[in-house]
């Protein structure tokens, strides 16, 4: 596939991979075991531009395109799913909506620290009673003078434990128009802004996923992103990009699992030959390779559509659905090839297997994606 990429994208892959191999891969197992967010590496990633991949260079970003973005998320996730998650959420569902829907002042205020990784961003949509059905959110922002008084309980917030800038989806006219959903930006440290306990997750354990709660928190009305009532529009636009990021993440995890699977199959001997000599193992290797390459094509296609300025909702939804499901299959096969050792924390495939699982759930579950895709195919809105 890389043969079809431009010189720029090859250089992107080469340089990011070399960084990840040296800085991230060696600690990926440890940060997962300790559920630790590796600030020391995150700082370096920030300096290199990984937190502002597509943000303009003048704002401290990398000024790159969506294809570069997909490749970078893939490469980081190949080393650590948790950090891939951190980067994709930060870039595509926190920084991007600020750049796309923010006013000049808002961009000047929030984009530079986000793009340089000095501040971490989060996207807060999910609530205890609103998961797949985003319209069911209950959090409110009630206008009071020049402020909104915000009350909400946002759960499963990726980067929650470390985020400084949080995009909150709230009802901004709860009494007169309960359907008016808007995005309001909250900064950590504002009185009434509380970071909840970290989730004790199955995978992605190095990402500090937590709840974020706001109690009578007064946020300036200047923190409204776009206009009141634009929440779902911002959400949808953001998720199109976000989904492409999750597809890239699943792709990276699957790629890593496949590589480990092949390596192990060539080293481990049973019945006097390497596992790789057994046809049943070769079948798995062939399937892993095909699933990974198909995921890659779909993910890069979504990115190419976006770079060409075409609509890419359907492409990114299909890529996310396919790549996340493929990732589960590939990591499962990689564990199978490792036998009992694959079920042990001594081998990286055990982590890939856990990390893979959630890619089918967040930013829209597989079921929701099938709904969206079918609707698109049948021409209904």
């Amino acid at each position: 596939m890389d043969s079809l990429l431009s010189e720029k994208h090859r250089i992107v892959r080469r340089s990011v991979r070399s960084f990840c191999e040296r800085e991230i891969r060696p600690i990926a197992g440890e940060i997962d075991r300790e559920a630790r967010f590796p600030w020391e590496v995150v700082e370096k990633m920030g300096k290199l531009g990984y937190f502002g991949i597509q943000a303009p260079v003048e704002l401290g970003g990398g000024g790159l395109d969506s294809m570069s973005y997909a490749i970078i998320v893939e490469e980081i996730s190949r080393a650590s799913g948790s950090l891939g998650l951190c980067v994709t959420v930060h870039n595509s569902v926190a920084l991007y909506p600020i750049l796309a829907f923010g006013s000049e002042e808002q961009i000047a205020k929030w984009a530079p620290p986000l793009a340089s990784g000095q501040k971490i961003g989060a996207f807060c949509l999910t609530e205890p009673n609103a998961g797949s059905d985003a319209s069911g959110i209950e959090g409110t922002a009630v206008a009071d003078g020049d402020a909104y008084v915000v009350n909400t309980n946002k759960v499963f917030v990726t980067n929650g434990g470390v985020a400084d800038i949080c995009l909150l989806f709230l009802k901004t006219n709860p009494y007169d128009d309960p359907g008016e959903i808007s995005v309001v930006v909250a900064e950590r440290g504002t009185p009434g802004f509380v970071v909840g306990d970290l989730e004790d997750l199955c995978g992605m354990r190095a990402n500090p996923v937590s709840s974020i709660r706001l109690y009578d928190c007064r946020l300036s009305r200047e923190n409204l992103l776009g206009r009141a009532g634009m929440g779902l529009k911002i959400g949808l636009a953001t998720l199109d990009t976000g989904r492409m990021g999750i597809a890239a993440q699943a792709l990276g995890i699957a790629q890593a699992a496949m590589e480990e699977g092949i390596l192990y199959a060539q080293q481990r001997r049973q019945f006097r030959v390497p596992l790789a000599k057994h046809q049943a193992i070769q079948m798995m290797i062939a399937d892993m390779g095909t699933l990974v390459e198909a995921s890659r094509l779909m993910t890069y296609r979504a990115a190419a559509f976006r770079d060409a300025g075409k609509s890419f909702s359907q492409e990114s939804a299909m890529a996310k659905l396919f790549a996340s499901e493929a990732c589960s299959k590939v990591t499962d096969m990689a564990v199978q090839i490792h036998g009992g050792y694959g079920y042990s924390k001594s081998y990286a495939v055990e982590r890939y297997y856990r990390d893979a699982r959630v890619t089918r759930i967040y930013e829209g579950s597989s079921e929701v994606h099938r709904m969206v895709i079918a609707r698109g195919l049948m021409g209904k809105k």
């Binding site: 250089i11 992107v12 290199l48 531009g49 260079v57 970003g61 000024g63």
Partner: protein, 259 residues
């Protein structure tokens, strides 16, 4: 114009091919021994100001090495590319590089990698400086610059040698001298916004065809064969101390350890 550094880099083949060498984008990469060279140039530029020009001689795929150099912060890139340069040995390569470097004058410093990962002769740096008639120090570990004079250190045979060299001078940089920085995304974005690298051919260099490429190369590679390694296992006996002594002795006798 300020301090002007030229770095000569090469795009190398990653894998040793079984038979004929066909270079393409997939198997070519910036020579790993040139990365510390770029790093040295970038640090000198950061410290003393000035500008860096990167040169490479090779087929069009070598452009990628120059773009990578640009992404790191090199100011000007020149691809020396001409069908008449095909088959150049190190002497012909040095001639072409020297001709290009003359065109780039005034230069204060010319930097090279110690060797390349795919040819491994180590001759191009020294030969080019001879062709230019400028002083040369090999395997340099550190460089300081004071009004046209360079102070450089190198380690040889367990001694630190310090030289004072008048510029313009040429050095090869020891691969362990510095840790090359990581490439930032903004640099990559910038590298692909500007103009393409300049291309110079034989005519631009003012080189006669019989002084370049195959025709200008006295070296003939007669054959290339893969070396088959034979492993021999030897057990060292005795108590731990004796084993350690015996091991050290074997390693140093075989040249694997410099003690």
């Amino acid at each position: 114009m300020g301090f002007h550094i030229a770095v000569c880099v090469k795009s190398v083949i990653l894998e040793a091919p079984a038979e004929q060498v066909i270079r393409n984008e997939d198997n070519s990469e910036l020579n790993p021994f040139d990365r510390p060279v770029l790093e040295a140039a970038l640090r000198l530029k950061e410290f003393y100001g000035g500008r860096i020009t990167a040169l490479t001689m090779g087929p069009s795929v070598s452009l990628s090495a120059l773009l990578e150099a640009r992404a790191f912060g090199v100011d000007r890139e020149i691809l020396i590319c001409d069908p008449g340069l095909a088959g150049s040995d190190t002497l012909a390569t040095s001639r072409a590089l020297a001709a290009a470097l003359r065109k780039l004058a005034p230069l204060d410093l010319v930097l090279f990698g110690v060797r390349t990962a795919d040819s491994d002769t180590g001759q191009v740096g020294p030969q080019t400086s001879v062709a230019l008639g400028i002083p040369f120090v090999g395997m340099v570990q550190s460089i300081e610059w004071k009004q046209d004079v360079f102070r450089v250190k190198r380690v040889a045979d367990h001694f630190v040698e310090e030289y004072e060299v008048k510029g313009p001078a040429a050095f090869t940089i020891h691969p362990g001298a510095l840790v090359p920085r990581d490439l930032g995304l903004a640099g990559i974005g910038r590298a692909f916004q500007g103009d393409r690298a300049e291309r110079w051919n034989l005519r631009d260099l003012g080189l006669q065809a019989d002084r370049a490429g195959d025709a200008g190369s006295p070296t003939r590679v007669l054959s290339m064969k893969r070396v088959t390694k034979t492993k021999q296992c030897e057990f060292i006996t005795g108590d731990a101390l004796e084993q350690a002594d015996a091991l050290m002795k074997r390693l140093s006798e075989s040249g694997a350890l410099g003690v």
